[in-house]
Subunit: 251 residues, 2 copies
DNA sequence: GTTTGGGACTGATCCACATCAGTCAGCGTC
DNA sequence: GACGCTGACTGATGTGGATCAGTCCCAAAC
């Protein structure tokens, strides 16, 4: 269950613990509390929603494998994808804290999760307040991503937005060892990307072609290849600082 | 310092305590810890930034009076206002948790705040974990607003977006007693609104005229008047549930 | 072995909103 | 009383991206 890393530090192998550990150096006792949260392992199949908009007192989940997305539906049937989730991310944390879900969550691939009940989470905070700080950190990081997303949709053109989107996803995947500056595997369809960055699927296609023809990125057959990472990052005005928190910042 | 409300419940008079109290019923001891956070009272003049994008280890503030906004600048000089803050809101909470500010904060009017140091906040969490839960709740509520904002910019037309924006602001102000279904005072210029909802100032003007001519809202001389609240809410597809958490939900 | 369906991709057309280039009223200032 | 500034407001023109209406390819279904 645990693996020993350098200098005797005990680091839990689960992706969430790894992520939280980047912010607070969690003690063995705290890791045990965290471990106890991983109660029930469940799997969901692609396309079948875990959480529905408006649902009350839903459990949260920690994503172990696969991709998911959180989205909101408008009354006219349009949808806006708020964010994609990759392994190590919380699903529906906000739903638990606010006691009602303001969004839906759909698995994009088949996924594995562990279920976390709200009550267990709040109890864990009482036992180990530093865990609360760590979870607040995750929530803040998620918020920072949503804010960046907002800026993109509000102020960037379609191509810059796409470039930024692909870069951010790459940076997040790199943090969990699922990608690097060369590229990454990506199960998203052009329709999903369209719903995420506020374009039509048709235009997503055109923009992807444009970026490809300019030799910056290629997205083809489920794989993103950075043909010229630096030029792309320059083009997109991409700033990683809000993502790559490295090393425990709170002793 | 404290005021006694019905049934002997002690409710702190400060707006933050009132907001947090809506989520967790805070004990007297917890309120005292919260009170100790209000260390230094400061004032800032309109237009002079409190926090700059990129600044490290900034303090957070709790807004006591006046209006502020948090925004991000793009390299090409455009800006996107992420949110407006009204009394009772945190300023720069995310900056403290993430140890670096990903956005700037500007007072729109002269403002009064109290400064909160990150270390004090984290200490307070250790002393009273329920306070941590409460702060996580505030952060989640802010995130929900940003998400709603994202959906608006991504998927709603200019008029719906404007209508939704004015309604949300109204709902938030109502919660702190600064507005009702009839309207509210609002110190925002059309330029500020434009930067917030991702339009040009010119178009903001046109959309406001349109909404006025349709008898839904009037925004004139620093005052928003809801001429027909229900029709406006219907038009904007406005859903308050993510804002109006009423009564302590966590015992 | 034909059908069905989903995803990538394209050209033509349309329109919502941006941009440009102003006017006008109010207000502080020297 | 002229000057400058800021915010509200407007008409003309331009454009980025949506929408419509398809094609092509491939894999699964029957």
């Amino acid at each position: 269950m645990f693996s020993i890393l350098r200098k005797g530090t005990i680091i839990e192998t689960r992706p969430l613990a790894r992520k939280l550990g980047a912010f607070v150096a969690l003690s063995e006792a705290e890791l045990l509390v965290l471990e106890r949260l991983h109660k029930r392992r469940r799997t969901f199949v692609a396309g079948c929603d875990l959480v529905h908009q408006g649902q009350a007192d839903q459990a949260a989940y920690i994503l172990l494998s696969g991709w998911a997305c959180s989205y909101k539906l408008l009354h006219d049937g349009q949808r806006q994808i708020v964010d994609f989730q990759i392994p190590g991310d919380f699903l529906g944390l906000r739903s638990v804290v606010l006691h009602v879900s303001d969004h839906s969550i759909e698995p994009i691939t088949d996924i594995e999760v562990t279920e976390v009940h709200g009550s267990d989470l709040f109890e864990a905070f009482t036992e180990t307040p530093r865990l609360a700080t760590a979870v607040l950190w995750t929530a803040s990081r998620d918020e920072a991503m949503v804010v960046e997303h907002l800026v993109g949709i509000g102020r960037r053109g379609a191509a810059e937005r796409m470039a930024h989107f692909l870069l951010e996803l790459g940076a997040r995947l790199s943090l969990v060892g699922m990608g690097d500056e060369g590229g990454y595997d990506c199960p998203l369809t052009q329709y999903l990307i369209a719903d995420a960055i506020g374009l039509s699927a048709v235009h997503v296609n055109r923009v992807l072609r444009q970026l490809r023809e300019q030799g910056m990125v290629t997205f083809r057959e489920g794989h993103v290849t950075f043909d010229n990472y630096d030029r792309l990052a320059e083009f997109a005005d991409f700033e990683v600082s809000y993502l790559d928190q490295i090393g425990p910042l709170l002793k």
